[in-house]
């Protein structure tokens, strides 16, 4: 416990020193045009919270990121499960999927604008596409890595294909699925913000582009700060979900390593 306390105190000291150094440097060297100032950012945050600017843009971003994340995850999960079990189909599709997977999804943004316009649905589809591949690849690998011995033992017990799916394939793939989900969190935000920067007039991505475009450095940094908070919250939610759905993993991690 004292260890945790010590670490936390050191973190606090580091954070305070960083903020103070930032504030000092910005004031002393007149750099606030480039790097703003913690006090200005704080004031701007209060202002935006007060006049509803933040809520307006934040909710749009959250909506897009979450809908894209959920849609992409479900699709990735389903396709990963199916292809993981259907070996021939997986072999046929493998090179095509790999081609798509290796393409930087960012490059799709202009095409998506062309196809779906600039409204919210374009961004949701864009995020879903990015998330889909990450979750799909991980689910697919997870299904492929299911222990054959465990499958055989359950088959000898008379298990049906459905039994095998629910009792072995899905739970054992879950570890992999979550690896994909965890990876997808920052990507869903990247996708959302990128989409919003490309084409729209709402969302944190728009706010970012707009404040930077008008040399409103404090606004830009405030937006960045909010984006960081949002990303950390998303990560936290996924981690909580992980603990709830895979309690055996946590118990295992908490143990001391032995050989």
């Amino acid at each position: 416990m004292t260890d945790v306390l010590k670490i936390n105190v050191m973190r606090l000291i580091l954070a305070v020193a960083f903020l103070w150094g930032w504030e000092y440097a910005a004031t002393a060297y007149k750099l606030s045009f480039y790097i703003s100032r913690p006090s200005e950012i704080y004031a701007r945050l209060l202002l935006w919270v007060g006049d509803g600017t933040l809520a307006k843009h934040l909710f749009v971003t959250i909506y897009v990121a979450i809908s894209g994340f959920v849609l992409g995850s479900i699709a990735g999960l389903l396709v990963g499960l199916v292809l993981g079990r259907a070996k021939t189909l997986a072999r046929v599709l493998d090179p095509f999927l790999m081609a798509f997977y290796s393409m930087p999804k960012v490059a799709l943004a202009p095409v998506f604008v062309l196809w779906f316009g600039v409204d919210t649905s374009m961004k949701v589809i864009f995020v879903a596409t990015v998330v889909f591949f990450l979750v799909f690849i991980n689910t697919y690998s997870g299904v492929r890595n299911v222990s054959r011995e465990q499958l055989t033992i359950l088959r000898l017990m008379g298990a049906s294909e459905l039994n095998l799916l629910t009792k072995i394939v899905f739970p054992s793939a879950l570890v992999w699925v979550f690896a994909g989900l965890r990876l997808s969190v920052p990507y869903s935000l990247i996708g959302t913000i990128l989409g919003e920067m490309t084409a729209t007039n709402k969302g944190l991505g728009y706010l970012l582009a707009n404040t930077a475009g008008t040399f409103d450095t404090a606004g830009t940094f405030t937006t960045l700060f909010v984006i960081i908070l949002l990303s950390m919250t998303f990560n936290g939610v996924v981690r909580v979900l992980e603990h709830v759905l895979m309690p055996w993993r946590i118990e295992h991690d908490a143990e001391e390593a032995t050989i």
Binding site: S147, R155, L156, M157, K167, H252
Partner: protein
């Protein structure tokens, strides 16, 4: 392929040769063995003499290179669902608690929740895992995992039990308790048991017949009829003269070279 004839499991002229890296390796050969229903047969012999291979063939997981395995007179072609297999590693499902692992075969059979939990509680008690019901497999010792795997096997209640060194990781007292339980299950439900072991004492004490293998390529050297009663007290048995005679015979069979040296 000749169907019919006696015995529950028949190994007829079995040979299994593995090909790896261009070399072919005969694991086991010239196996002819008939297992009667309700019999406990132990397979004993040096490592790598193909004992596990025979179990795999009886379960239909491996095909013999030559010969045929018959179960109830029918050649085993696919997965043999009349058998339950307990391998050397426990293969418990890590995401299920001990109790939930034992419940798997009952769930597959579609037993009601109430019946399942009652049966699981019985089995937990039987294998001495009381207090560990909700622990995950990674949280308990290897011996406990083995016991959970045994309980799961008993829950699945197959006609024939194929067991590959199931008790190797257990301490002596617990091993006797498990062996006793196994014989009790056999007695009560008329199970047939094929049991691979490295422990000569175990090979004799639980067996009706003990099949002794030579080193690779595995051949049956001798089939020892123990002549021990079906009901036996395993804790006392090891001090009985008839057991000692059998054990000495088996040791001599397993280590002929050492005996030759000692005599010369």
């Amino acid at each position: 392929m000749v169907a019919g004839g006696g015995g529950l499991i028949r190994f007829e002229g079995i040979n299994k040769t593995f090909n790896s890296g261009g070399r072919s390796l005969e694991a086991v050969g010239e196996i002819n063995l008939t297992v009667q229903e309700g019999e406990v047969i132990t397979l004993v012999g040096p490592s790598g003499c193909g004992k596990s291979t025979l179990l795999n063939m009886a379960a239909g997981l491996m095909k013999p290179t030559a010969g045929v395995v018959c179960y109830r007179g029918n050649p085993v072609t696919g997965l043999n669902r009349h058998v339950g297999y307990m391998t050397q590693s426990d293969h418990l499902l890590p995401w299920r608690s001990i109790a939930k692992n034992i419940a798997v075969p009952l769930e597959i059979k579609g037993l009601s929740r109430v019946k399942t939990s009652a049966r699981v509680a019985e089995l937990i008690d039987l294998v001495g895992l009381t207090g560990f019901e909700s622990a995950f497999p990674t949280q308990v010792s290897g011996g406990m995992r083995k016991r959970a795997a045994l309980a799961r096997l008993l829950a699945s209640d197959p006609e024939t039990l194929l067991m590959d060194e199931p008790f190797a990781a257990l301490d002596a007292q617990l091993r006797i308790a498990m062996q006793t339980e196994l014989l009790r299950v056999r007695e009560k439900f008329g199970k047939t048991i094929l049991f691979v072991t490295h422990d000569p004492d175990e090979a004799i004490s639980i067996a009706d017949r003990c099949v002794i293998f030579s080193g690779r390529p595995g051949r049956i050297v001798r089939v020892l009829d123990t002549g021990l009663p079906r009901r036996r007290d395993l804790a006392k048995l090891r001090f009985e003269p008839e057991f000692l005679t059998l054990a000495r015979g088996l040791w001599e069979q397993l280590t002929p070279d050492m005996h030759a040296e000692a005599c010369s």
